[in-house]
Amino acid sequence: MADAPPLLEVRGLTAGYGAGPVLFGVDLEVRGGELLALIGANGAGKSTLLGVLSGLLPPTAGSVRFGGRDLTGARPERVVRAGMAHVPQGRRLFATMTVRQNLVLGAYLRRDREVRSDLDRVTGYFPALADKLERVAGTLSGGEQQMVAIGRGLMGRPQLLLIDEPSLGLAPKVVETVVEVCRSINRDGVAVLLVEQDVVLALEAADRGYVLENGRIALSGTARELQDDPAVRKAYLGV
């Protein structure tokens, strides 16, 4: 289906926080069902890009099309309704609420009656959460909190999940679990845009990747091409 339009199409996106742009004319595509890695140094603009996509920060130029609709500058609730969910860096759970309440909040915009079965779907991906639904989220381990954050994103039934640095502060074994689940979510048909500093792991998991440098896309290609690229190896893998 090479001719199918991309699920997400970003063109010439420019955005910033007042003191000048952080992103300069970014072009990026996510195809339906693919797992895309976005890599780059701290400060390159990766989280800013996710913020613009999910409507938290309006762009100053460029366009965002998603699922055939123009979402440029759309408010977050419209973005979520359109099928894009953001799993922010640092989990950002409601720490004093239960795991169940946090998850159900991810379905806030939905009015259907299938929220309950979607809770089962989340605990299917993360069995460790099944007997912790009534626990207060802030008392969970970092790995479990990350699982809740991803689960909350899934509760909006997204076609595209934006996941920002899921490995942050997690033990290696837990990182493997979290990335493994990102892959199974993806295999089940949800496209994933993964921002991850563990570049080795990100490129192992991804189909394709983009490299963001100083607010510009410096390189893109299949994960394999990026893994073998001398500049990527030197600048991001440290080998």
Partner: protein
């Protein structure tokens, strides 16, 4: 010679749960010791016990021949133990330089410094961590690696002889980790003993002389980084099989 830092049967309970259960180890002066283990193993609790944030339920901690368990955090700091926090909380409206000076003004192991001396010392530690060019910026504009550097600078400003680092490399990519390791080496070369918590094995392999593994509040294993990363118990509890396989394939033991 007495060990520089000695923990003897350190136990800390929260409610009914033993976050630390009779943990004992010694750190000789001049060592870089890595502390690893699953999330929830008790690593940060251990740093909190050493730095006086938590009171022990049993056991004792001594530093440079003197018992420090039971002392409040500011006294522990003034005896020469500096630390960073996992969640950095700089004074947001102040400049980088002012933030570093706070450590020198209030936590210094030397007699309380006059403001001028504190700023001079702040400039030195900012130079050491590579933040000197950004000294006049407010901290709000710093990137994550720079915020971590500032956290290290604030701890260094207290003129510690023992520095406790709690995940200062989380969120850095492999190349940024290598830059941060250079800072750790420079700090260590200045005569400071270091205990660091990390989940990034590139750090552990890169600078640690010795590694201690905690699991569920207890001592699980100890050895050189190489020994510990091949230990079956550590692979099962912490690293995972995939990590072990990848490391065995070679070249990626320092996965960032």
């Amino acid at each position: 010679m007495a060990p520089f830092l000695e923990l003897e049967g350190v136990t800390k309970r929260f409610g009914g749960v033993a976050a630390l259960d009779a943990v004992s180890f010694k750190v000789p002066g001049g060592e870089i010791l890595g502390l690893i283990g699953p999330n929830g193993a008790g690593k940060t609790t251990l740093l909190n016990c050493i730095s006086g944030v938590h009171h022990l339920d049993a056991g004792s901690i001594s530093f440079d021949g003197r018992r420090i368990s039971g002392l409040p955090p500011h006294q522990v700091a003034r005896l020469g133990i500096g630390r960073t926090f996992q969640v950095v909380k700089p004074f947001a409206s102040m400049t980088v330089r002012e933030n570093a000076a706070v450590g020198a003004l209030f936590g210094s192991s030397e007699a309380r410094l006059a403001p001028r001396a504190a700023f001079t010392w702040a400039d030195e530690v900012l130079e050491l961590v590579g933040l000197a060019p950004k000294a006049r910026m407010t901290v709000g504009s710093l990137t994550i690696p720079d915020r971590k550097r500032l956290e290290v600078a604030r701890a260094l400003a207290t003129k510690p002889r023992l520095l406790l680092l709690d995940e200062v490399m989380a969120g850095l990519n492999p190349v940024e980790v290598d830059e941060a390791l250079e800072i750790v080496r420079k700090v260590h070369a200045g005569g400071i003993t270091i205990v660091l918590i990390e989940h990034v094995m590139r750090v552990v392999v890169g600078v640690c002389d010795r590694v201690i593994v905690l699991h569920m509040g207890r001592f699980l294993a100890e050895g050189t980084p190489h020994e510990v990363l091949q230990d079956r118990r550590v692979i099962e509890a912490y690293l995972g099989e995939k990590y072990a396989q990848r490391a065995a394939r070679g070249g990626e033991a320092g996965r960032g």
